[in-house]
Symmetry: C2
Subunit: 261 residues, 2 copies
Amino acid sequence: MARLQKVTLSQIKLTASLKKKKYRRLESLSIAEGSKLAAEALKAGIPVHSVFFTAEAAEEHSGLVELIMQRQIAVFSCSPSDMVRMSWLKTPPGCLLVYKTDFQPPPREGGLLLGLYQISDPGNLGTIIRTADWFGVEKMLLSEDSAELHNPSVVRGSMGSAFHIPVETGVDLSSEVESLKRSGYKIAIAVTSSGRPPFPIDKKTALIMGDEMGKLPPEIEGLADIKFTIPRKGCGESLNLAAACSILLYVLTGKTNIIKD
Amino acid sequence: MARLQKVTLSQIKLTASLKKKKYRRLESLSIAEGSKLAAEALKAGIPVHSVFFTAEAAEEHSGLVELIMQRQIAVFSCSPSDMVRMSWLKTPPGCLLVYKTDFQPPPREGGLLLGLYQISDPGNLGTIIRTADWFGVEKMLLSEDSAELHNPSVVRGSMGSAFHIPVETGVDLSSEVESLKRSGYKIAIAVTSSGRPPFPIDKKTALIMGDEMGKLPPEIEGLADIKFTIPRKGCGESLNLAAACSILLYVLTGKTNIIKD
């Protein structure tokens, strides 16, 4: 295997700075850690800035290193302590990829849109992106004041689906829902009580989920064609947002065909 | 409102020590933060060791303070900086309850058991407990080497359902599944491919979920009466464990009656 160039101090500093949202925004860069997530980024063809490996990880994932070098992406070796400095994780996996956040995955078809209103938890957002990808959601819409799409916890929780599924961020969800309705979309919303049990829907539907408390602004509620509530069979006050969203996407896509790879 | 006693240094030290799993185990104590979770603990009647409030939180939640005092539970005031020292959270909500972990919620009926094999992520475990409660799961079984039930992130993620639903921990899941099968339970397992799409089940079923990679030991796979796979309609390699579990619990309980509060 070709010898890797050594990381420089300025590269370490730049990468470590990406732990802060401010610098991720300023530099339009974020990080994806672990060989699996790095491989997903390469597979999706998103723009890569640089990749870092510890000696141990480079040896373990030599095929990945070769692939990165073939693509003429800047790849560097670093010490385990440099990796700790750059890593977002408690136990760094030894492979860290820095990517440019100003990309948009290719558009998809399918007819089901998913809008999230002020989702605040990065773990929930990552899980929802992964689930939306699984159920073939065409596009996601993230309202203003939502968790940051390129927060490394979101991308990690999405298992790379954040590299594949088109997501619009900073969306004024009320006007967007209005304009979707005008262009023929059915508007389905999730409500914590008094809605109908979910059922499979036809194409051209936008499912809009409220925040972690299940809240949606009244103007979006007012535009809803269907309100869904997941029936409670036991106890508890509510379902977790990602859990509720998973159930709704499963049921709503019940009629659609399975896309073969 | 009655004046609260001031927290002592030894109480602060004891509570702060509970951030470590070792001390949670040694003391059989753990913490639940926030007025909502504290109220859930009281409602569930679990054994409470002590409760701490900042002055601001005590004023805001004076009803809760009264209730705690009526129950003759030790309750103390502390400064915001003492609270930071004891708290598990970045932004402490100002109310922290210490409870004894050696309790078991009252048994339930329902016929659906949920077994988790080596679940490692506290966030996933908390979400699954909350979802299991919502769908009326009778009892949960956590295998050996699973995330700790009384990790404060689990209890928080469960939104208090961990105080309500019976959970057996450290279970030898293979022998338990064998003995459940002998006593007439149907064994349903989740597999990442080649299983049947989920459908509603009759009573007396144990649903067993694998670890975060979907893996189950072969002896449990061998005991399965039904293998379920959630059909993929889009892309991605897999679903998040808590998302998959939510969908399965929703579908499996499709036939059961809704329990009224």
